[in-house]
């Protein structure tokens, strides 16, 4: 388990992290979300000992040592490889730095290239690969030594939906193997799809923390999905409705100011008749994110 307790970091007058705490148990995926500059990369750099910080970060009950580096897979936000090397040379070099013998890694390379559908062979120069394929090679470098702790900074950035699915499968496979995984993303769909828990950072502080369901429940069932012939103005005039968003056709989302207003709205819309759609749900992660970010601008 990765345990982060009360870490703080200041860059001059800027407080990049302020008393941040959370745990990532083995076999779980934690999504770290937040706006640019919220402190996500600083958190990763603290875990990896790239910067000094106050507080405590422990891996399996002890402070990270040089030996633990062998069990970490790290993907930085900006991609970077040694462009003059071949795919094989690059993968083997980085794996050897993780303490893996070349003879163990080499036989696995073709399989990994196939899994990630890399357009190129093990002898292809990194420089000759497209940006997307370079990114896949970097992902392979991060995963090939079967790390117990995976730290992925914006791993889905720049990937098309097909490749994003391949990465999701790889992340889930690592989780099933028992790895503790922490990744950052701006795409809430990916976070929702694979994360067991999430931490939202805002200006270096933990703004939200918990399982996805818990976080969503905190906001109550304030989203009402309806299909009705009522015009939007009439819907907005209903008691307990804050605003209305038209989806398409006669489908709307009513944003409630009070979740308890749901039954009254149901009665008003149906009046004892059939209604095609009426579903009261908590806000999506995307909406929660916008909501929390919006608080900064109030």
């Amino acid at each position: 388990m990765l345990s982060i307790q009360h870490i703080s970091k200041e860059f001059g007058p800027v407080k990049a992290l302020n008393d941040v705490s959370f745990d990532v148990p083995d076999g779980q995926i934690l999504g770290l979300i937040g706006q640019n500059g919220a402190g996500k990369s600083t958190t990763f750099h603290s875990i990896l000992n790239f910067i000094d910080y106050s507080g405590s970060i422990q891996w399996q009950g002890h402070t990270l040592s040089a030996e633990d580096f062998n069990h970490i897979g790290y993907l930085p936000e900006e991609r970077s490889l040694m462009t003059k090397l071949t795919i094989e040379q690059q993968i083997v070099y980085l794996a050897r730095l993780k303490g893996q013998p070349a003879k163990v890694i080499r036989p696995q390379i073709d399989d990994w290239l196939e899994r990630f559908a890399v357009k190129g062979t093990r002898k292809s120069k990194i420089n000759d690969l497209s940006k997307g394929n370079q990114q896949k090679v970097q992902l392979i470098c991060t995963l090939i030594h079967q790390p117990d702790l995976l730290i992925l900074d914006e791993p889905f950035s720049g990937l098309d939906p097909v490749n994003a699915d391949l990465l999701k499968q790889a992340i889930v496979a690592a989780k099933e193997r028992g790895a503790a995984i922490i990744f950052s993303s701006h795409d809430m769909e990916h976070v929702t799809a694979v994360c067991d828990q999430l931490v939202m950072l805002r200006k270096g502080n933990v703004a939200l923390h918990g399982s996805l369901d818990d976080v969503r429940e905190q906001f109550g069932k304030t989203e009402l999905f309806v299909t009705t012939d009522w015009p939007a103005e009439q819907l907005r005039a209903l008691p307990g409705v804050g605003s209305v968003t038209k989806r398409h056709g006669n489908r709307y989302v009513l944003h409630l100011t009070d979740a308890a207003a749901g039954p009254n709205i149901f009665d008003a819309l149906t009046q004892g008749h059939y209604i095609e759609e009426f579903s009261q749900q908590p806000p999506t992660l995307d909406e929660i994110f916008r909501l929390k970010v919006g608080e900064d601008h109030v």
Partner: protein, 405 residues
């Protein structure tokens, strides 16, 4: 295999496989081959035009001259008309006609240039010798009279050849050593600084530092570059040895080397001792400084500027050594032979001259070794922070922050 060695071999192989390394290695060989080739072609083409023909009505006289002197003589031309033709065609430097009239020898030199001093002395000597012989014959002198007239004064030079050779050996050894340090230093300071600076601020450094410690990576890089230096020196030694073997097939060079064997031995003795260790340690400390300098630049694009301070320091040591080569008792020499970065230039000077005890040499070596160890440790600790820095501060601002840290 330890991670340090993984980095060492990656750095080494990347450098060795580069075109720039190949050009660097082949450069001196190509230069030597070109120089020798051009000289050979030039010498061959000009040799015939520098020769002199000997013409004489007397076959005995001509043969007598040719028996005594063969160098620079065209023996194929035997007549005046052939000589004139060859001279006009610029195939001869000149021709010498030797004749006798009333028992008096006469030589006439025909050329577009004045007779060289060597040839003039050679001809004069030959004429005197033959003329004297004929004069004795003509005078019908007794053997005793001939012996009395043959008496010549004695001029003998007494030169202390051993001291002269020793001094020359010292000068040659001094120049070989400091030039060797200087060339290696200038070449590899740039390579090292660029090698390090090109990684600066790249995310690959984050991946590497998530795999191994900065100190281990730094030491691996330095060892990789030192292996490249050792490879280059080994190639040059092998090339030199092969070249020496080939050159010894040439009778002239073999004669030259044999005649100066004691000088060659002295030079080798002056270099292959503690001085070689000074060269190696000097290269190591400058390489570490170059690596530090590379880590201080603000971005990879500034790599070319990174080596400048190190090159300047190396040049300072090199040029500072000049004025003191004949004044080794100066206090500055004694002090600088203990100061790291300068001791690699100044202590070998004193060792070659024999004006320093073994104890003093070892003390200076200890200072140098301790500095290298402390320097590597200090930079190793700063290395991660410096390499991950992506701000826009310049090299000197980074240096100040580095000291503050």
């Amino acid at each position: 295999m330890s991670k340090t060695w993984v980095v060492t071999f990656e750095t080494y192989l990347r450098q060795i496989k580069s075109w720039s390394f190949l050009f660097m290695i082949l450069g001196p060989f190509v230069m030597i081959a070109l120089t020798v080739g051009i000289s050979y072609i030039s010498a061959n083409s000009s040799r015939s035009s520098q020769q002199v023909a000997i013409i004489s009505d007397s076959k005995v006289l001509r043969q007598s001259y040719l028996q005594q002197h063969q160098d620079g003589i065209n023996t194929k031309i035997t007549t005046t008309s052939a000589a004139k033709k060859a001279l006009k065609a610029n195939h001869l430097a000149g021709y010498l006609t030797i004749s006798t009239s009333n028992q008096q020898l006469r030589a006439d030199y025909h050329s577009s240039k004045v007779m060289g001093n060597g040839l003039k002395a050679q001809v004069q000597n030959f004429l005197n010798q033959v003329q004297t012989g004929r004069n004795y014959q003509e005078a019908k002198l007794s053997a005793k009279q001939k012996q009395a007239l043959a008496q010549t004064p004695i001029l003998k030079q007494h030169v202390a050849t051993k001291d002269g050779a020793t001094n020359l050996a010292k000068i040659i050894s001094f120049w070989i050593l400091i030039t060797m340090i200087y060339i290696i230093l200038i070449t590899y300071s740039s390579i090292t600084a660029q090698e390090i600076a090109s990684d600066k601020g790249t995310k690959i450094m984050e991946i590497i530092f998530s795999s191994t410690t900065a100190t281990s990576y730094f030491v691996g890089k330095i060892l990789g570059i030192l292996l490249v230096i050792v490879t280059q020196i080994a190639i040059y030694l092998l090339g030199g040895w092969a070249g020496y073997g080939l050159a010894m097939h040439n009778a002239g060079i073999k004669r030259l080397v044999t005649a100066n064997q004691s000088l060659v031995d002295s030079v080798i003795h002056n270099i292959v001792n503690l001085n070689l260790l000074y060269v190696l340690l000097g290269v190591i400390i400058y390489t570490i400084l170059a690596a530090y300098s590379g880590a201080l630049v603000s971005k990879a694009e500034d790599a070319s500027k990174a080596a400048q301070p190190v090159v300047m320091l190396g040049m300072l040591g090199f040029f500072a050594a000049f004025p003191f080569q004949n004044n080794l008792d100066a206090l500055a020499v004694k002090i600088l032979s203990y100061v790291p970065f300068f001791s690699s230039y100044f202590m070998p000077m004193r060792v070659i001259n024999g004006t320093v005890s073994l104890g003093e040499q070892l003390a200076s070596l200890v200072v140098l070794l301790a500095t290298i160890a402390l320097f590597a440790l200090y930079i190793g600790r700063q290395y991660q922070r410096l390499m991950l820095q992506t701000d826009s501060e310049n090299m000197w601002q980074h240096l100040i922050h580095s000291f503050k840290h």
